[in-house]
């Protein structure tokens, strides 16, 4: 009967998203728009796979920014953050929101990855195991950093533009590693060759989550 509270917060986020479609609609439109722009700008040119790998992560990064920025802003705008604060501890809220962001980002980046490979003929992945491991680990890292940054911007006055500005320096090591691992997957490297990159991705996510759990309550409580 009694399930962990972070899971309840997660369930609430999912149910709320299905009712309001705050993030999903924005995300879907953003993904479609950026992918279309990529296709048009490529035209008939053959583009090196290094650049194609980079562009994939640019699309994922900015889509994530557009989808996750509202994580805490909606609570703040509708005055429900006080309600949530009254109901449970900051750590429970953080973990629940983080789990929700992980699911959202993973669904989004898997969709983008499929669409990208389908639309762009020059982007041929020879090592699927490396590719999908990168997508999953990169998504978790993105969600980890975005959750705490979304909590920060929810309290600021200019919310929309602030998110990518704050997120970019923090996410750069993650993105560079993801791009590198994606390049390896196109080159058809052995799984073991990408192992060091995965080690960095895992380490980044763990550090980000642990640091967020420590500092989140300072942001969350007024």
């Amino acid at each position: 009967m009694v399930t962990p509270i972070p899971y309840q917060v997660f369930v609430k986020e999912v149910a709320s998203e299905f009712r309001t479609r705050y993030a999903l609609n924005a995300l879907l439109m953003f993904v479609v728009t950026t992918l279309t722009m990529v296709v048009f700008s490529l035209g008939d040119n053959t583009v090196p796979y290094e650049i194609l790998s980079g562009m994939l992560w640019i699309v994922i990064f900015f889509s994530a920014m557009s989808g996750l920025s509202r994580t805490f802003v909606t609570e703040e705008e509708r005055g429900t953050s006080l309600t949530l604060r009254l109901l449970t501890s900051a750590t429970n809220v953080y973990i629940g929101k983080f789990l929700y962001n992980v699911v959202l980002i993973l669904a989004m980046s898997v969709f983008i990855a499929f669409a990208y490979r389908l639309i762009i003929d020059d982007f041929v992945v020879r090592s699927s195991s490396i590719f999908w491991t990168t997508i999953v680990l990169g998504g978790i890292g993105l969600a980890a950093a975005s959750t705490i940054l979304a909590a920060i911007i929810a309290k600021a006055n200019t919310k929309g533009t602030l998110f990518p500005v704050l997120a970019f320096p923090v996410l750069l090591p993650l993105l560079l590693t993801c791009i590198r691992a994606t390049v390896l997957s196109v080159e058809g490297a052995f799984f073991s060759e990408a192992f060091k990159d995965f080690q960095i991705l895992v380490s980044f996510s763990v550090v980000m989550i642990a640091a967020s759990v420590i500092v989140f309550e300072y942001v969350w409580n007024d």
Binding site: Q8, S16, L82, L87, E217, N221
Partner: protein
């Protein structure tokens, strides 16, 4: 009801360099009722938020002792209920969904009968499957009471208890206040002189010395 003790000591809150109040101290025990009054802007709502642990004071302490054991403010949720204009429901969920959600996130189990009983008592049972955004402000206030009472809290905090309510609503609230005072404890903030008859002690924030 298990014995408990709310201890507020020298609480101070300032915004920037403007001091809202300073050195607020009082105690509330089982079977007591405590009221806070004061002009608009004297910090009644702020004080309520601080005691509920959702706002950090700039100084002083708030302690909850239940059964001779101190409970950290971050874990006080199952013991308290709050009705406040600053506390909003999730508009995309129905009244009943909101109540279930609150119980789950508080980490307590409730029965369907309890939820329906409360909804009936506050006269919004017929509206239980309507999304909260379609509620009038009076209905929202009633829903807040259901949410605050669902887990039978040891301490009930009411910020402007009768706001937005019609006569029938006010009558129910009065009844709730009376009951809560007998069963456990009650803290409320108001400017209505009629409400003050429910208080054992009254703290006037506008007469507080600020230093």
């Amino acid at each position: 009801m298990t014995p408990f003790h709310l201890e507020v000591r020298n609480v101070r809150k300032s915004f920037g360099r403007k001091v809202l109040f300073d050195a607020v101290s009082f105690d509330v025990r089982l079977g007591e009722s405590f009221a806070v009054t004061g002009k608009n802007g004297s910090g009644k709502s702020t004080l309520m938020k601080i005691i509920c642990g959702v706002l950090t004071p700039n100084g002083g302490s708030v302690r909850y002792v239940v059964n001779d054991k101190e409970i950290p403010l971050s874990h006080v949720a199952p013991h308290i209920g709050l009705v406040s204009p600053y506390l909003n429901m999730y508009e995309e969920f129905t009244g009943e969904e909101n109540l279930r959600l609150f119980a789950k996130i508080r980490g307590i189990g409730v029965r369907q009968d309890d939820i329906h009983g409360l909804l009936q008592r506050f006269g919004i049972f017929e509206h239980r499957n309507k999304e909260a955004r379609f509620y009038s402000s009076g209905m929202k206030q009633r829903l807040k009471y259901c949410a605050a009472l669902l887990h039978r809290p040891a301490l009930l905090f009411l910020d402007e208890p009768t706001a937005n309510l019609d006569d029938i609503g006010i009558a129910v609230v009065r009844e709730v206040m009376r009951e809560q005072r007998q069963r456990a404890a009650l803290v409320f903030a108001t400017n209505e002189s009629e409400d003050l008859s429910f208080a054992d002690r009254v703290l006037d924030l506008s007469r507080l010395k600020i230093g």
